[in-house]
């Protein structure tokens, strides 16, 4: 199944041999808009019996052609049947009609259709623009005039998605066991490690309680504890207590110094 609900009939030869021409719809909303337009009915007063029948006919036809049907089409089908059964119910006896009039069961659907229609229009006007590489061309290569020149400063240009894709590629090469899943949690711990280290910067010690601001939540607490544990494991901090019931202090185990930076050059 196409994840986009893009049902392309002519994708393979087998399907192309069918003589029935099935139009391709992006999703249930697209199909509904088509049916509404085709029947020339008012979108604010959709005749559900006609539209639902034609909608289901379309799905049935796809089934008969052995086409995979995106789940969203089926969800919409059941929604339509539901709305239709609501509209078919006889209006309740007017005893309680003084209450606010119930919303038309079709209202939510109409809202979605109008909203979708708006973006579909927008996508059409996007497609009609002069597109680079289709209607208009620019020089995208490095001019020979600049080829020999070495840039002095190099501001970096990179997208977040490229970063995570690079990480994914590394993980794909390394076996699963040697690398536990990286989730949001480890990011938080990494972040807390950095925060603790920057709090410690230039100080001799830090009160353990200082790591917890006034209104921290449970996740924050856990991340902070794990961060301190990780830092202990790395032997980057020492946790000390002056006496049995005294305050707990965190001390940097290694002072960051000029020599550390110098070492990096090697």
């Amino acid at each position: 199944m196409s994840g986009d609900g893009n049902l392309d009939l002519y994708r393979d030869e087998e399907a192309a041999s069918y003589t029935v021409k099935l139009e391709v719809f992006e999703g249930p909303l697209d199909l509904l808009l088509h049916l509404i337009r085709k029947n020339e009915v008012d979108i604010y007063d959709i005749p559900l019996s006609i539209i639902t029948r034609e909608y289901l006919d379309y799905i049935k036809m796809m089934k008969e052609l052995n086409l995979e049907i995106a789940g969203e089409f089926l969800v919409m089908a059941s929604t339509l049947i539901q709305i239709k059964s609501k509209t078919l119910l006889p209006m309740p006896a007017d005893e309680e009609s003084t209450e606010e009039e119930e919303e038309d069961p079709r209202a939510e659907l109409v809202r979605r259709l109008l909203e979708y229609q708006k973006y579909k229009e927008a996508s059409i006007s996007l497609a009609e623009r002069d597109m680079l590489g289709r209607e208009t061309y620019a020089r995208t290569f490095l001019s020979p005039e600049l080829a020999g020149m070495q840039p002095e400063e190099e501001p970096v240009e990179v997208e977040l998605f490229e970063l995570i894709e690079a990480f994914r590629k590394v993980l794909d090469r390394v076996s699963e066991e040697s690398f536990h899943e990286v989730g949001a949690e480890s990011i938080t711990i990494a972040e807390r490690i950095n925060e603790i280290l920057s709090l410690l910067e230039g100080k001799e010690s830090l009160l353990f309680d200082e790591l917890f601001p006034e209104n921290f939540n449970r996740d924050f607490l856990i991340a902070t504890f794990l961060a301190v544990l990780e830092l202990c494991k790395l032997k980057m901090v020492k946790v000390v207590q002056a006496n049995r019931y005294g305050s707990i202090w965190i001390q940097p185990a290694v002072m960051e110094g000029e020599d550390a930076v110098a070492d990096a050059e090697s």
Binding site: G5, Y10, I36, R37, D42, R112, Y119, I124
Partner: protein, 195 residues
């Protein structure tokens, strides 16, 4: 005595991406902004004349020399690259992101009515959208926005120059919607780089 108009023309010509007015002024710091503006205007006049094979376009908040649409067929012979083709789903998703950014995947899928994960990944890979961060709501979903490449691709000066969204009152009357059937939705396979 340097000829500022000539210098600006050279700069825009060799640059491999649109150059903003501010960047131009920074590069040409010994000239004042008014002079740079004047040179730019003179160039726009010159390249705006009828029948030019190179035009000075304003895209992605910058200036860039580009070829006019009427010559596209001939240029295709030179580049031999098949024009980029977009699926309707990629276009719909791009439109939603362009108009509603920052926007989450769930919002996109609600508006489109279909799963949009695959198409999001594709346009992320094409750098037409980017991850802006996470939304500060439960679940912290990723939020997406369009990129400079998006503006360049669709020849847009900035996001404000996107056509305003039309509120359609009555479907059966609207002319633009009539064009829907002519969309080459089925005929796209094979030719071009389908997104």
């Amino acid at each position: 005595m340097p000829n500022l108009k000539s210098i600006v023309e050279s700069l825009l010509f060799v640059a491999d991406a649109p150059v903003t007015f501010d960047r131009l002024c920074t590069l040409l710091e010994e000239f004042d902004r008014g002079e740079v503006k004047e040179a730019l205007n003179a160039l726009q006049d010159e390249y705006g004349r009828e029948g030019r094979g190179v035009v000075l376009a304003e895209v992605a908040t910058g200036f860039q020399f580009r070829t006019p649409a009427e010559n596209a067929d001939y240029l295709r012979r030179l580049t031999k690259t098949r024009p980029v083709k977009f699926s309707q789903s990629a276009l719909e998703t791009l439109a939603i992101i362009a108009y509603r950014q920052p926007v989450t995947r769930a919002e996109i899928e609600y508006l489109r009515g279909v799963d949009s994960g695959g198409v999001l990944k594709t346009i992320l890979e094409k750098k037409l959208i980017k991850i802006l961060g996470k939304k500060d709501i439960p679940g912290k979903p990723l939020i997406y926005g369009t990129t400079r490449e998006f503006l360049e691709l669709f020849s847009l000066k900035d996001l404000r120059s996107l056509p305003t969204l039309k509120e359609i009152r009555d479907l059966s009357e609207t002319a633009p919607y009539e064009q829907q059937e002519e969309l080459p939705l089925g005929q796209s396979e094979g030719e071009g780089d389908q997104l």
